[in-house]
């Protein structure tokens, strides 16, 4: 109990310390995006990771909540209603919940392919309608709000991004806490049961459909909260925020981070936000790298980054993690070198400059000779990685099985 509590205290402390460490304008802006991404990725995990519902339209609840939140900001600005903007994420959450109750009432009847297809259809339907119903969605231009109106919250008027960060941090903490607590409730446990074997769950006397519906509504609520945070941070929403591309990005985040583990989507959200905001400064090909990373993750790390970390649990318990360090180094260094030179090759083939700096070496992309080195390096490093794999596999096997025997 104390151990669990201390994890939450550490989480809260990290949330509060981060803006002090990264206090540049860009740092705060990335932290804000991270906060939004964490909430939406965690809410997606409620569907797919815990409930077994593969959704291709999760951005709908994020976007609808966000649009409602922006409209609430506008209403506060024109004094139609009066409440503190700190509650804006809740407005988004409630609207996301309403949308989820409506759509979930028919889409949760089946899991699997039928659910996936309905989510895809509803996603396309609402994204397309958002361009038709201009009054609510603002058409192509979107809707704009202003977060600085309404009664100030203890003298804070949210003109600064840092102030928004602390608000977002509060909501991230609350949302994460409640989403974790949800997994501990009977409803959360039954969601796992229905995911693994709906038939058996029905035999015990639970309606699989209702269990799915409850998870679905909760996911909609938290997605809406994320949408509300988005509205607070960016102060505008467009069709882009609820279309299929955004839904796909949420799926990517949760999957790369690791489904089924509670921390997985958090890792995914942090990694993807960092890639999105930092990598895009250096290369316009970052989406290509993201795609490669995603496909490789699905193929070789089916449980994502979190699953990869968790694989070492057994070795760690037996104190045999040390024995893995050297084999990891032997495989990892050439693998990294191979990846780096491959990326160098890709970038060099795409560059328009006369001189391309390949791992610090100035090369001329127009000369055939300058291609030989990167190609050779890629192939050599790739071969070294490949030939060191059996060793790694043996070391891995030894670290995990010997421990068992000792026990």
């Amino acid at each position: 109990m104390l151990k669990k509590l201390s994890i939450w205290v550490v989480f809260l402390a990290i949330l509060l310390i981060l803006p002090l460490l990264f206090d540049s304008i860009m740092g705060i802006s990335i932290l804000n995006q991270m906060a939004i991404a964490i909430v939406i990725a965690l809410s997606y995990n409620m569907l797919l990771g815990q409930g077994g519902m593969l959704s291709f339209g999760h951005a709908v609840y994020f976007g609808l909540g966000g649009f409602m939140a922006v409209h609430a900001l506008v209403m506060i600005e024109f004094e139609t209603v009066t409440f503190s903007v700190t509650l804006i994420p809740m407005v988004g959450g409630l609207f996301g919940l309403v949308a989820a109750i409506f759509i979930g009432s028919f889409s949760t009847r089946k899991a699997g392919t039928v659910f996936a297809m309905i989510s895809l259809g509803m996603g396309e339907l609402i994204a397309a309608s958002s361009l038709i119903f201009v009054d609510f969605f603002g058409g192509e231009a979107g809707v704009i709000g202003d977060r600085t109106f309404g009664p100030p919250f203890f003298g804070v008027d949210f003109a600064q991004d840092v102030e928004v960060y602390y608000l977002a941090a509060f909501w991230v903490f609350i949302a994460t806490l409640f989403m974790y607590l949800f997994t501990q409730t009977p409803a959360g446990r039954m969601a796992n049961a229905v995911r693994d074997n709906p038939e058996r769950a029905e035999f015990i006397g639970y309606s699989a459909r209702r269990v799915r519906f409850i998870s679905f509504c909760a996911a909609g609520l938290f997605a809406g909260i994320a949408g509300g945070l988005f509205a607070m941070n960016f102060e505008f929403l467009t069709e882009e925020n609820l279309n299929a591309a955004t839904s796909g990005r949420v799926l990517l985040m949760a999957y790369i981070g690791g489904l089924g583990y509670f921390v997985g989507p958090i890792i995914g959200a942090v990694v993807l936000t960092l890639m999105n905001s930092l990598l895009s400064n250096y290369t316009e090909l970052w989406m290509l790298y993201l795609g490669i990373m995603f496909v490789l993750t699905v193929m070789f790390l089916p449980r994502g980054f979190a699953g990869f970390i968790m694989l070492h649990q057994l070795a760690w318990h037996h104190g045999r993690l040390k024995t893995l360090a050297l084999p990891y180094l032997v495989t990892g260094v050439p693998a990294l070198l191979c990846a780096a030179s491959l990326i160098g090759l890709i970038e060099m083939s795409h560059t328009e400059a006369d001189i391309f700096h390949f791992l610090g070496l100035p090369l001329n992309p127009d000369q055939l000779v300058s291609w030989a080195l990167p190609v050779l390096l890629t192939l050599g490093a790739g071969y070294a990685t490949r030939s060191s794999l059996p060793q790694l596999r043996d070391a891995w096997h030894a670290a995990n099985t010997e421990g068992k025997r000792a026990k």
């Binding site: 009847r109 039928v114 297809m117 038709i132 799926l251 990517l252 090909l285 699905v298």
Partner: protein, 316 residues
Amino acid sequence: MLDVFLFATLNGLVTGLLLFMLASGLTLIFSMMGVLNFAHASFYMLGAYFAYSISSYLGFWIGLLLAPVIVGILGALVERYGLRHVHRHGHVAELVFTFGLAFLIEELVQFFWGRDTKNYQQPDILDFPLFTLFGQEFSAYRGFMIFISVLIFIGLYYLLTRSRIGIIIQAAITHPHTVASLGHNVPLIFMGVFGVGSALAGVAGVIAGPVLTTFPGMAVVLGSIVFVIVVIGGLGSLAGAFIASLLIGLLQSYAIASDLGMQDLLALLGVSFERSHPLNDLWTLTLPQIAPILPFLLLVLVLIFRPTGLLGKREE
């Protein structure tokens, strides 16, 4: 009025047949592996791009021959080294893998060919009006599209129902273990079907590229509609996919050609609204406006009221 109707029907037919060329491959792959291949429309896009590159050196006809072969080989490789590997991680992983693949192929296309629209043209030899009705021309290329599609369906039909390979394929769909026990290499059949399905999508891309423009978003535009067709027709049913393809093609074509809207419906009911009404956008909807969302509306309705689709079998 009649001319509008006639041309909407013809255009709908062209679209419908094109969609079926994609949907047939997708349906075959689904009935074999139980996986809806998200990347199917990406193979269609690859077909168009390969054909564009080949045609700029060797002409349209060589492109029509070569591009589908390349796409088919790529598809077979994807099945052999990607999908088969992911298979052991379960169904969701397979679906997510094809989703990731679609994402990756779109990025790769942008990497190799750039973001702009490609000037992929129909061959000069087909650049004439096939016939003129009510003062409107119907281009020979569209006629050619219909011809190619029909030719492929007849070929596919005979291959599947009359040839030895087709019979083995059909058996492998329903009883893979029995077929394997009889000494056939079932994984090889799976790979072949995946390759042929991708090649069919490639053909669709080659002939649709000049009409529907060749750009990096073309897979997304058509991809979800092909999904809709496969689901509406009933997962795994080729006949259902055929009916649904024509239905969606015609429906969209009629909706775009018509000038009806909510206001006509309201006038019929004798109701009218002020312009300042808060739901003004709803009361002024027109059919051409909602044409792009009709397939998805139909999809959601079908899934709610008949989850097995038009000709789908009973759910397990």
